[in-house]
């Protein structure tokens, strides 16, 4: 970007400043810290100059939005054309309650739904299973059968609203229920739009909500990719997620590298299934976390897009530019929220959301300020949504594309992120891939070490968390809290048991037997699972068949 002569001149001037002027000045007053580092443990310099990006080639490394390597964004007009999707993750209690929350959010200007399921659903247990005691409807909505899904989506036009479902182990079953509701509404399948998270790999080392062992899990993921490619062209079959990797304790760099590696693994698996890369890759989507270090996060998002484009082009020989797109959903970070002085979280969320927008996201969830304490109240959710709207309409951040491009610091950090992520990718390649790395505990160890380091630094006040280890106050400001009524569990269990009595049980048994057979035969299970949910076989029953054939996964503990 700069000619040799100019760089030399800058270097000379910088050296003069550092060797002559600054020592005099610093003799009297030292800097705040002996060194500055970001969360990814990268050393941050006092100042960045053209020297730090002297190799940068505009067309090669940045280009234009909507064009390879997509560093500046995946769309040509970005937010000038259309704002990102404001998608608030929500769900609690019964399907009925969550349905009301959805309608409220849509009325308030939300543009897409995002369903949070309760833990029994996530783990593939029916609400009346013994492991579900005390958990029904608590951290999300309970969906045990198509009956619940029908109530949940009642009055919501599935050809107009897109829906994201945070579901992994039982992704196939919940997608099947969604398809079944669509069928009932008379919406053609090619019009159903939305996303299933369906990213099992990260479950094994980060989120740990696993039902089946890695191999059959990857098989199910690939079933969904294959099915969507053939039948649900507007559905994103997978949301390759770094968010949970980050929440489990990874730093930004690890989040980036491990997520991309998971992506590589899914592409390989789908290609092994006989799918052409350009047939499915355009619908792969990604999901990242956004933390408080503004510039580090922005650089991470930009590097992610560029690196993925290169991987798709060079490693998988994709031809369609859309296969090289990295479309991303971003959520502000849950683990940065503090239970102390909860209102401070509004400011944290604002910074994180701004990073997501400056990083060029396609979709955003902003956390509510009370989430370190409980499920968000309606008021807290509204503030979170308003935060996005203020950034969109008042800050001007959405008025030009990739406004931080060309910043010496940002471009340097973007390069650094890309380079170091590539090192990780090579390391995992050498280990024999993602599953081998999981079984060796490689990801787990990396994440555990980062989490421990972060906590140590916080404990030692090397890292200041406002209101927690500094500026703490004794008095607490109670905030209103949302509690799920314990009656919810009883009601849900009663409803489910009624369903189990009243449905055509002969038909259910038949279809479950068919499912068992198909599972052993290693067929694509999507069609038969759709048939099963339509017969009102429950989630627990369907997962039960698969548990029998595949076995259950037990975590590998690494601290």
């Amino acid at each position: 970007m700069f000619d040799e002569e100019k760089i030399n001149e800058i270097r000379k001037e910088r050296e003069r400043l550092e060797n002559i002027t600054l020592p005099k000045w610093m003799g009297q007053r030292l800097e705040r810290k002996s060194e500055f580092r970001n969360h990814s443990d990268m050393l941050i310099k006092r100042i960045y100059t053209p020297e730090d990006i002297k190799e940068l080639d505009y067309m090669r490394d940045l280009g234009f939005p909507g064009e390879y390597p997509f560093t500046r964004g995946v769309h040509a007009t970005m937010y000038r054309g259309r704002l990102w999707t404001m998608r608030q993750f929500s769900g609690y209690g019964t399907a009925q309650q969550t349905n009301q929350r959805f309608k409220y959010l849509l009325k308030e200007g939300e543009t897409g739904l995002s369903i949070a399921f309760d833990y029994p659903t996530i783990m593939g247990y029916d609400s009346d299973h013994s492991m579900a005691r005390g958990e029904v409807g608590i951290c999300g909505v309970a969906v045990a059968s198509l009956k619940d899904m029908e109530v949940l989506l009642n009055g919501i036009p599935l050809d107009k609203v897109t829906t994201s479902m945070t579901i992994n182990g039982p992704a196939a079953m919940l997608l099947a229920m969604y398809v079944a509701v669509g069928d009932k509404q008379g919406v053609p399948r090619e019009k159903l739009g939305g996303t299933t998270q369906n990213d099992m790999l990260k479950e094994f080392f980060a989120q740990k909500l696993c039902i089946f062992p890695p191999k059959p899990s990857l098989k199910l993921v690939t079933d969904i990719i294959e099915y969507c490619t053939r039948h649900l062209p507007r559905w994103n079959p997978i949301s390759i997620s770094g968010y949970h990797i980050r929440e489990a304790g990874a730093n930004a760099l690890q989040e980036l590298a491990f997520t991309l590696y998971d992506g590589i693994t899914y592409v390989e698996s789908a290609m092994e299934r006989g799918l052409k890369v350009d047939a499915f890759a355009p619908r792969l989507s990604f999901f990242f976390a956004s933390h408080n270090n503004l510039f580090e996060e922005i650089a991470k998002f930009r590097a992610a897009r560029r690196l993925w484009a290169k991987i798709m082009k060079e490693r998988f020989h994709a031809k369609n530019p859309r296969s090289m797109w990295m479309r991303m959903h971003i959520q502000t970070s849950g683990c940065t929220l503090t239970a102390h002085q909860p209102l401070n979280n509004i400011i944290r969320v604002t910074i994180q959301a701004l990073a997501a927008v400056l990083g060029g996201t396609q979709s955003l969830h902003t956390n509510s300020f009370d989430e370190a304490l409980c499920l968000p109240t309606e008021e807290a959710v509204r503030v979170a949504l308003r935060t996005q709207q203020i950034i969109a309409h008042e800050s001007g951040a959405a008025d030009t594309i990739d406004p931080l491009a060309g910043s010496y610091y940002i471009e340097h950090l973007t390069n650094e992120m890309e380079e170091q992520a590539m090192n990780y990718i090579q390391k995992i390649d050498n280990m024999g891939g993602a599953i081998a790395a999981i079984e060796k505990g490689f990801f787990q160890k990396e994440i555990a070490d980062s989490a421990y380091k972060y906590q140590r630094e916080t404990d030692e006040k090397k890292r200041i968390i406002v209101g927690v280890n500094e500026y703490a106050t004794e008095e607490t400001h109670p905030i209103p809290m949302l509690r799920v009524d314990p009656k919810v569990e009883k009601e849900q269990v009663a409803k489910l048991q009624k369903l189990k009595r009243e449905r055509d049980n002969r038909k259910v048994n038949e279809v479950l037997e068919k499912l068992h057979y198909a599972t052993e035969k290693d067929e694509n299970l999507m069609p038969i699972i759709i048939e099963a949910v339509k017969s009102y076989a429950t989630l627990g029953e369907i997962c039960g068949v698969l548990r029998k054939v595949y076995g259950e996964y037990k975590e590998l503990i690494v601290i």
Partner: protein, 135 residues
């Protein structure tokens, strides 16, 4: 000759949630403070937790829960602790437990509840100070 009594502690995760970051960090800090830490892994029933505490003859049980099911699971755990005669075992908890639930949980016999943002040092110190005496 080794004769100093080692502190043995069980870190247990009841509930279906998978947020084990906190539990593991605490486990690691307690280990680094010289204790023997037994970790149960995720999703343990109250019965499994208390049986494990009994077999491992621990001095302390630390419960970590973020799923919101503490109001169902903690009473059951404490009931079993009493039933199995583990009266000289100290129990503390951590995770997301609303302020207003804390008195009720303490009444069950849970010695202390640590919310998010508690420095690990505080927890380690607390454990050292509250090791039950053994006859």
């Amino acid at each position: 000759m080794q004769s100093k009594r080692k502190i043995r502690i069980l870190i247990a995760k009841p509930g279906l949630d998978s947020h084990d970051r906190g539990a593991k960090i605490v486990a690691r800090a307690l280990r680094d403070a010289g204790m023997e830490v037994i970790y149960t892994g995720l999703r343990q029933t109250p019965e499994q937790i208390v049986e494990t505490a009994l077999q491992e003859d621990v001095d302390v049980i630390g419960l970590s829960i973020l799923s919101g099911a503490h109001k169902t699971l903690f009473p059951r755990i404490m009931e079993l602790v009493k039933q199995k005669g583990l009266t000289d075992v100290m129990v503390f908890a951590g995770g997301i437990i609303p302020e207003e639930d804390i008195p009720e949980m303490k009444k069950l016999g849970i010695k202390e509840i640590f919310g998010p943002g508690t420095p690990t040092e505080t927890i380690v110190q607390f454990v050292f100070e509250h090791i039950p005496k053994r006859t």
